[in-house]
């Protein structure tokens, strides 16, 4: 299968990339890992007139801590996230999700930022980003830099707040002092979409009370679903099995899965309940370790 012909541009600097985006706008797609874009182009679901390959840009693949947040830049591959000591130390939910993204070969090319910008409604990373309260950092030639909270960045399926002239340069995740997180994923085989995915995130204060909580669901709603009612229930409470079970019931009610080849709606709803309970328990264990 071949995509339609396109103009291939390889900028040498970020400024050059932003120039091309400013000039050609909506006819352009940015090529990072290409693990979703190239299949879509081959199927002719996407036919950009111009591809801007950002893979040769320097200083755009960092995973580090900067100004109090964890920074994951545009060219950090899923495999880099899996191997990153910074991620292992700094964020339980991201560390837990990384090995379950796609398959090892796709992880060697695909990027976390690309996945967030693509916003496949059944993608795993968007749920994780919603749970950990990430922000998207986007840049354009004429608009400079803007930092968009993930809840505003993710607009709808395959739709984000990223403008045609903008490049998603990094994802920022707040640091925590006592926190933990988890990603629970049920899939029929490696590389398949999640049948059900659940991202959870918990932070504790000095007294051991829950000071921040995040819960987001994959593949059980038309898009990645954050569950604020369940998060609010947890905040300010002492963690307990009963509390987690109650939050899990809220998530189960909030989701709206479809019956398909991966399972019945009823089954998926119950997996959501079980995964939220397990995820919160794992997140709590992680938070108590640090």
């Amino acid at each position: 299968m071949y995509p339609r012909a396109f103009d291939y541009v390889v900028p040498g600097t970020k400024a050059e990339a932003l120039d091309i985006l400013a000039e050609r706008g909506s006819e352009v797609k940015v090529l990072a890992g290409g693990q979703s874009l190239i299949p879509m182009m081959k199927l002719r679901l996407a036919s950009p007139a111009t591809l801007v390959d950002i893979n040769r840009l320097d200083d755009l693949d960092a995973i580090d801590v900067q100004n109090g947040h964890v920074r994951i830049q545009a060219l950090a591959r899923h495999a880099d996230v899996v191997k990153s000591d910074v991620i292992t130390r700094e964020n339980g939910a991201i560390a837990s999700a990384a090995p379950w993204i796609a398959d090892p070969l796709v992880r060697n090319r695909g990027t976390l930022c690309g996945s967030v910008a693509h916003h496949d409604p059944e993608g795993d990373w968007a749920s994780v980003m919603l749970a950990v309260g990430a922000s998207a950092v986007v840049e354009s030639r004429d608009g400079g830099e803007r930092v968009v909270p993930i809840t505003e960045f993710l607009v709808d399926m395959f739709t984000t707040a990223l403008q045609p002239t903008e490049l998603l340069t990094e994802v920022r995740v707040p640091r925590y002092t006592r926190g933990g997180g988890s990603y629970q994923k049920l899939e029929r085989k490696i590389g398949d979409y999640a049948t059900v995915g659940v991202a959870t995130h918990l932070e504790l204060d000095d007294a051991g009370t829950i000071s921040n909580a995040g819960i987001a669901l994959t593949s059980v709603y038309p898009f990645n679903l954050k569950v604020p009612e369940a998060e609010q229930l947890l905040i300010g409470q002492a963690p307990s099995t009963e509390l987690f079970a109650e939050a899990a019931q809220i998530a189960k009610s909030a989701c709206d899965p479809s019956t398909d080849v991966r399972g019945s709606a009823e089954y998926k709803r119950d997996v959501v309940r079980v995964f939220v309970e397990r995820g919160l328990a794992a997140s709590l264990a992680g938070a108590r370790e640090n």
């Binding site: 299968m1 071949y2 103009d7 290409g34 081959k42 796609a102 070969l105 090319r109 590389g191």
Partner: protein
């Protein structure tokens, strides 16, 4: 667009359309047909090649993206005309039946043992989890990759 790619140790220069997939450049352009096409939708992994040592699906990368890179295909595994340990091991441990997934399995296996010469069964299964085999049930593929690791360690010690 003119590109130069080092394929199995030799620089190859060609003029390719940007939309040419790496796998088609390798198979049709360079006539190296050991790299196979299976699903053509980033699912099966039989088109795996090593790009600068890293296994990737060559149906999901454009040839122009490989400009300046070094690529290893199954044809490049042999060492001084003899079978590489990974090839010898697949032969000895009967790591193939129809052979369609074998080039990819050997390349993924060779990249794994390069990094981790003594992988556990779980580590091998994890490494090949992006590669489908519809014949073997994977048992002998796992054994072959572990055997190759042992052979490589023995050869280098």
């Amino acid at each position: 667009m003119e590109i130069t790619v080092n394929v199995n140790g030799t620089d190859r220069t060609a003029d390719v359309e940007p939309r040419t997939l790496l796998v088609d450049f390798i198979r049709t352009g360079l006539k190296l047909t050991g790299t196979h096409i299976g699903c053509d939708t980033t699912s099966c992994g039989v088109c795996t090649v090593l790009v600068d040592g890293t296994p990737v699906k060559s149906c999901t990368m454009f040839a122009v993206q490989a400009n300046g890179s070094s690529i290893t295909t199954v044809e490049g595994l042999k060492q001084n005309g003899a079978l590489a340990p990974i090839q010898q091991a697949f032969k000895e441990a009967h790591g193939l039946q129809c052979g369609f997934c074998t080039p990819a399995m050997m390349l993924v296996g060779s990249a794994l043992i390069e990094e981790n010469p003594n992988p556990t069964e779980d580590e091998v299964r994890w490494a090949i989890s992006g590669n489908l085999c519809r014949c073997t049930g994977y048992v002998n593929i796992v054994k072959s990759i572990q055997l190759a690791g042992e052979m490589s360690s023995a050869a280098s010690s």
